[in-house]
């Protein structure tokens, strides 16, 4: 990939950090039985590693064609979820949420296939490092469309970053008021409920971990109503930080796509 090497390195570091964080989310979610979107976190782990490898070729960890298979599968998965979400619950927000990951997976596939074509051309004597602009397999209009869509979703996500703020306190207070431990969290859930019982200060301390509407029943991360989540069970795992991961990934992917114009 062309562009300043320091910038590619910095973005690769951010992607690795995002990957590690999402891997931690999966582990914490599994150990504490706290709901999170495991498929999204898993794909973020993979995307972070794959993008770091595209930005800094030394960081490539997969065999040729491996990532294409991974993201082809992920694309099919999110397409199925988007279709299922649309047919079961025609809520545009939830649908858009799945669509966001579908587009990200498609964009990953596009970038990987373009890089593979450029690499193949390089082995045949076509310019190597500069094979991106004007290279074989390049579809600038498609790349721009992906970049605009992903940056649009970044904005959409950033607009909703403040949405859990009120829900956070509401959920914490609701759980404290009810005095009920989450139903499926076992001992861990009970300790979390005790944690909540310390009141508003606890809510603030716990703030980034709780989001009202993003319940276990429906794994969308943002919304406006807090009450259902308080009744649904343990609070989802740090929805705001998850949103920040999506923002970081969206901006980085947008940059990579623009570099492929």
């Amino acid at each position: 990939m062309t562009g300043p090497s320091w910038l590619a390195g910095a973005l690769a570091c951010i992607m690795i950090a995002t990957s590690i964080y999402c891997l931690n989310r999966l582990l914490i979610s599994w150990r504490r039985h706290q709901p999170t979107e495991r498929d999204v976190d898993a794909v973020h782990v993979l995307m972070g590693v794959a993008m770091a490898g595209m930005l800094v070729p030394r960081l490539q960890v997969f065999w040729a064609g491996g990532w294409e298979v991974v993201f082809g599968t992920a694309t099919a998965w999110f397409a199925w979820r988007a279709i299922r979400g649309l047919s079961r619950r025609p809520d545009s927000r939830q649908h858009a949420h799945h669509l966001q990951h579908l587009i990200a997976c498609l964009a990953m596939l596009y970038m990987l296939l373009t890089l593979t074509s450029a690499g193949a051309a390089a082995t045949q004597g076509v310019s190597a490092a500069g094979a991106m602009p004007g290279g074989p397999g390049r579809q600038p209009t498609l790349a721009l469309a992906f970049a605009v869509a992903l940056l649009g979703y970044v904005i959409w996500t950033a607009d909703r970053l403040t949405s859990p703020a009120t829900a956070t306190a509401t959920v914490a207070v609701a759980v404290a008021g009810a005095g009920a431990a989450p139903t499926d969290g076992g001992g861990t859930g009970g300790s979390r409920a005790r944690h909540h019982r310390s009141g508003p200060a606890s809510a603030a301390e716990y703030g980034h971990r709780v989001s009202g509407p993003a319940s276990a029943a429906e794994p969308g991360r943002f919304g406006t109503s807090a009450a259902p989540a308080a009744q649904a069970g343990p609070p989802p795992l740090s929805p705001r930080l998850a949103a920040c991961c999506e923002i970081a990934m969206g901006v980085t992917m947008g940059y990579m796509l623009i570099m492929m114009l």
Partner: protein, 331 residues
């Protein structure tokens, strides 16, 4: 002491809007917020475009210096000075430019920072309009709406003013009038589209091959379908520069006054404005986005965004019952 703390807190609240959001939570975006988000998206795209390889080279400073040509010395001097500065520190200055634009986009999208980001975007846009775009070439005699006059970046500032989240909204038949009031907003519309009509009749634009040359110049380096559309437009306008310039100026003038007419006519004028913005964008080769050296998508999307802000509503938007995004509720 407590008064000083309250003042500081109030100032911080004004700057960040954090108090408002933490107290009042999140409301679904209304028409103005949706337009603000589109503006944020364009700023974010600008920031990413600023990270293209070309921008870190001396070619970028030469592009900036090019904006000085044809301008009076008082305008051209600072443009050349800033281009020289950027040329000497290409990597650092461009990284700062990109970071500022990324932050403006994310700031407008993140509600607590809305006012701060919109205010900063106005200051940034005015500085770039002069130092980066040479006032969009409006004083050079070669500017035309077709080649991006009066400069995309000044439209960012105008959009920020019209979409400003005022503390107390005024009743207005369109979104753009909620902060400034309908009379001032209509005046700004008249100035914008009337100004575009005037620029459409500049000497270079009304020369027989003027528009044709402008369009074919912007089609260079574009992908096949876009270059082909540009070439087709260019061929059709070849030798008919005067007629095309006059026709364009008349349409733009009609759009300018259309906002003062009854709602059905105003709605038609705004629809035509959106269509003209689309046509201009195609003529501008989508702002050169696909050619790898664009710093912004040019005026087309911004003109369309502004036109959407003037879309006449069936019922006048009432004054907001409560504060909008990033606004504080009076206590």
């Amino acid at each position: 002491m407590s008064e000083a703390t309250a003042t500081t807190s109030s100032a911080a609240g004004w700057l960040t809007g954090a108090a408002a959001t933490s107290r009042e939570g999140w409301a679904a975006p209304d028409s103005r917020r949706r337009l603000q988000l589109i503006l944020a998206g364009i700023w974010l795209l600008d920031g990413v475009l600023q990270l293209q390889s070309f921008m870190f080279t001396r070619g970028f400073s030469q592009m900036l210096a090019g904006a000085a040509s044809g301008n009076p010395a008082v305008i051209a001097g600072p443009v050349l000075w800033s281009a020289h500065l950027v040329g000497q520190h290409a990597v650092v200055t461009n990284a700062i430019f990109a970071a500022v634009q990324l932050l403006l986009g994310l700031g407008i999208a993140w509600r607590p920072a809305l006012r701060l980001a919109l205010g900063a975007s106005i200051a940034w846009a005015l500085a770039v309009w002069w130092l980066g775009e040479g006032l969009g070439g409006v004083l050079t005699g070669s500017a035309s709406p077709v080649n991006g006059a009066p400069g995309a970046v000044i439209l960012y500032a105008l959009a920020a003013v019209l979409l400003w989240p005022s503390r107390r909204d005024r009743p207005a038949p369109f979104t753009a009038g909620r902060s400034t009031g309908p009379a001032a907003a209509r005046l700004l519309w008249l100035a914008l589209w009337g100004g575009l009509a005037y620029l459409a009749l500049q000497p270079e634009a009304r020369s027989p091959r003027g528009l044709s040359r402008m369009i074919s110049g912007m089609a260079a380096g574009e992908p096949g379908w876009l270059a082909s559309a540009g070439r087709s437009m260019s061929q059709q306008l070849s030798g008919r520069g005067l007629e095309a310039a006059v026709a364009l100026a008349v349409v733009l003038a009609v759009i300018a006054v259309g906002i003062y007419l009854p709602r059905p006519v105003a709605r038609t004028a705004v629809t035509v404005a959106i269509a003209i913005a689309g046509a201009l964008w195609v003529a501008q080769g989508l702002g050169g986005l696909l050619a790898g050296s664009a710093t912004d998508p040019n005026t087309g999307p911004l003109l369309a965004l502004l036109a959407l802000a003037y879309w006449p509503r069936r019922d006048a938007e009432p004054a907001a019952a409560g504060p909008g995004p990033g606004e504080r509720r009076p206590t």
